[in-house]
């Protein structure tokens, strides 16, 4: 089905995608530039990998990246567990008492300006420290808690909308056949919504990996995440090794997306073939 798309719409799409990708491409291109100036392309010595070598030698960047990875992974796991529970409650438990508040609490963190969330969480941690003595000081723990809190909201939305499109009679059928509710969840619901859980995990991972503002409020002296480090470098102006870092990140994400895309397409094609075969079987009888 090829709907008519006017010249205007096509131009707008072209412009939009160019707008989205030119900055990223420019970073990739200039990461191979010999000159330290972004606006000047040093034809004599480019392309060069010197900024990549510089990046690999930078202990500070590597440590920050390791810390960010660790926080992002723990955060994503925690956010997936909490978000799945919340999504399950919202999608499956009907109208329970306090449902409206829970809906509000799971959508608000998505739109709340980060400076407010960051400040609020910091003040909470300070208050908790004086009241119950935990968490002692600020660092990895407080960053992780803060990240889980705002990224679980996104996971909740992903899981909730997946569950709303899942035929509830699958779960009822399992229960009808003798499986208790907890078992139904682990044997039926969980495997079927697994792709949604995976994408929720990746989303939470990215949100945490990327976060600067909330992290800056709740981090302590010994814990500098990668975005914090990048921010402090970027504030001093353009820095080609940041271009190299950006290129590495874009390359990783893009290749992951391509792999996932190819895998999904192959899965889909196999599925199509199976369905066709089932239809062929059906010809000529029941």
């Amino acid at each position: 089905m090829n709907q008519r798309r006017s010249f205007f719409v096509l131009t707008a799409m072209a412009f939009g995608f160019a707008f989205l990708y030119i900055p990223i491409l420019s970073m990739v291109v200039y990461s191979f530039n010999y000159s330290k100036l972004v606006t000047v392309w040093d034809t004599a010595n480019s392309p060069t990998l010197k900024w990549y070598t510089a990046l690999l030698a930078d202990e500070q960047v590597l440590n920050a990246a390791k810390l960010s990875l660790r926080i992002a992974a723990i955060n994503a796991t925690g956010a997936v567990i909490l978000g799945t529970l919340a999504g399950l409650a919202l999608a499956r438990f009907g109208r329970f008492k306090g449902r409206t508040l829970l809906t509000g609490l799971t959508t608000a963190p998505m739109v709340m300006p980060e400076v407010i969330t960051g400040l609020a969480m910091l003040l909470l941690f300070v208050a908790m420290q004086t009241l119950v003595g935990w968490p002692a000081g600020r660092g990895v723990t407080t960053i992780t808690i803060a990240h889980i809190t705002f990224s679980m909201a996104y996971v909740t939305v992903v899981i909730q909308s997946r569950l709303l499109t899942l035929d509830e009679s699958l779960e009822e059928a399992a229960m009808d056949l003798g499986a208790r509710p907890a078992k139904v969840f682990f044997v039926i619901t969980l495997p079927i919504i697994f792709p949604a859980i995976l994408s929720g995990w990746l989303l939470a991972f990215t949100l945490s990996w990327d976060d600067l503002v909330i992290t800056s409020f709740v981090s302590g002296p010994g814990s500098t995440t990668l975005p914090q480090l990048i921010f402090s470098k970027v504030r001093l102006g353009v820095n080609p090794s940041i271009n190299a870092l950006a290129t590495v990140m874009v390359a990783v994400v893009a290749s992951l997306v391509v792999v996932a895309g190819v895998w999904m397409q192959r899965q889909e094609r196999r599925r199509q073939r199976d369905v066709q075969m089932a239809l062929a079987t059906n010809q000529g009888g029941a």
């Binding site: 939009g16 300006p113 808690i145 495997p191 940041i242 075969m277």
Partner: protein
């Protein structure tokens, strides 16, 4: 009754290779169901049930408590601290409640912070400027995002997924780095500048950096995916035969767009606009990297009060004022979200 069963044995019966995660999941499940069936566990379960703690309650309570403690409670603390006064201590504010003697409790509500915000024109103009910047950026994002979303939704199915993926892709790469990319693009003698000179839009290559326009570009650029996705969902759901019916009844395309497509995708427009407007109002990174000293935004003011002046009470007051301003838009967003989320039983 004799029924001939056509058996499809041409070639192999499609044997499905089982994904590893399923096998793993099954082992996990087997262990789990053994555990669930174990006598003491059953007994404990029924004991808990007597106390009203069913699985259902637990599933709801865990995320609920987390959000109450780590998301709702902090706002109450912000509110409390916005009424206290600054002190050189750690934490740097005076306690709200003091015990004058054993029996007398003193509550010192310090309205000074809010008075200060009102009297110092810096805060008010920063607030108004933030709202203006966010509103302009939202409109720009809508103008760019709507045709994009429309074009994607009307593409062939195969292309649709690829184009959507392309919209999402920048989101998965670092936000900070994408904003940073514009520093290079907008600076003096930068490609964008040269293009504008060549087009005759500006006379001499100056720097777009540190202007409001740089901030607009940064916000639109960073938040465009958040605008396109809800719009796409709304447009994709739209029944195409409605437009066919309209044109059959003599409605011209532009008119059909205005009287059918636009109103029927309203939820998507509201959700998209709110997803841009609300965070943009409190944006910190974009104005501090791309904006100049003139493009004051409230998020940056809050940040500076907190980190540079270490005035926590004033920062809290700023947060409360900003929050009050955004309550309306947030409610609007939640309503659009619920309308789009389908029926809740």
């Amino acid at each position: 009754m004799v029924i001939v069963e056509p058996v499809c044995q041409r070639g192999r019966d499609p044997v499905v290779s089982r994904p590893a995660y399923l096998t793993l999941g099954e082992q996990f499940t087997a262990a789990l169901s053994a555990l669930l069936g174990w006598g003491p566990v059953r007994a404990a379960q029924s004991r808990l049930k007597e106390w009203g703690l069913t699985g259902r309650v637990a599933v709801t309570a865990v995320p609920y408590l987390w959000l109450l403690v780590f998301f709702l409670a902090p706002f109450l603390i912000v509110l409390k601290i916005s009424f206290s006064s600054v002190e050189i201590a750690m934490p740097p504010f005076a306690p709200l409640v003091q015990w004058a003697s054993d029996k007398v409790m003193l509550v010192r509500l310090n309205l000074g912070n809010f008075m200060f915000l009102w009297e110092d024109s810096l805060y008010l103009s920063a607030l108004l400027n933030s709202l203006k910047m966010a509103a302009v950026s939202t409109m720009l994002a809508l103008l760019i995002g709507y045709p994009m979303a429309y074009g994607i939704a009307r593409s062939e199915r195969h292309w649709r997924n690829i184009l959507l993926m392309l919209v999402m892709l920048p989101f998965w790469t670092s936000f900070l780095l994408r904003v940073y990319a514009w520093i290079g693009l907008l600076g003096r003698n930068s490609p964008v500048n040269q293009l504008l000179v060549w087009l005759g839009l500006i006379d001499e290559p100056g720097s777009l950096l540190q202007t409001d326009w740089a901030v607009y570009i940064g916000i639109v650029y960073s938040y465009l995916p958040f605008m396109v996705l809800p719009l796409y969902t709304a447009i994709e759901k739209l029944d195409m035969t409605l437009l066919e019916a309209a044109s059959d009844l003599g409605c011209r395309p532009t008119r059909a767009f205005l009287s059918i497509t636009l109103p029927l995708t309203r939820e998507g427009i509201v959700a998209g606009c709110m997803l841009v407007f609300i965070p943009a109002t409190g944006e910190f990174v974009i104005p501090s990297l791309l904006g100049g000293p003139d493009s004051l935004m409230i998020g940056r003011v809050l940040w500076e009060e907190f980190f540079n002046n270490r005035d926590w009470p004033v920062a809290s007051a700023v947060a409360i004022v900003l929050l009050l301003l955004l309550v309306g838009p947030i409610m609007l967003f939640q309503r659009a979200q619920q309308a789009a989320g389908g029926v809740h039983r």
